[in-house]
Subunit: 119 residues, 2 copies
Amino acid sequence: MTALDIALAYHRAWTGHDFEAAMQYVADDIVCLAPAGPIEGAEGFREFMEPFSKILLEAALVASYGDESTALLMYDTRTVPVASAPGAELLTVEDGRITHLRIIFDRLPFAEARAADAP
Amino acid sequence: MTALDIALAYHRAWTGHDFEAAMQYVADDIVCLAPAGPIEGAEGFREFMEPFSKILLEAALVASYGDESTALLMYDTRTVPVASAPGAELLTVEDGRITHLRIIFDRLPFAEARAADAP
């Protein structure tokens, strides 16, 4: 399986709300570069991404490319707090597992939704 | 020139602070899907992107892929208000010009920098 195959399998699993299956593609020592900063290790990564998969209503892959070691995805999501929350991910794969995942998304509408919800 | 060639030429031009050159690769009827919503036409697009190129201190391409009609880029930038402002762009190219550009970046640190700057 190429890096793109692994990236797409991971993407299908988490957008399908099966985070247990998604974690099968995640290396124990994954380094995730998220908008708020780096997250190290599979457990921390799961704490970051699984809550997002739980507020996910809909997802659609917009573009996906890759080669032997790396894949680049762009996707749309619709979530409970934010109607349109697209993301982009660069994934590095080694031995069938994602070792680096760089994710870009716009945190602003999530911050605004939180502020609107605050008492 | 492939879509990726055009995308990279555009990227080199705007990150090189030559927005005049960058606009050579932009279709008059470009549709840009930005975090705040769609922008239609080359003039509006320039009003959106050129100010960003002016606050740009440094840029580095992180990944780039493409095929005949489409390219997908991820890059790092360092800007005057925000030290780390990565972006991802999906570009559709027709007849050597970018007709659609979807850009994802995190607006939150820019909003925070503006708020900190406000009197």
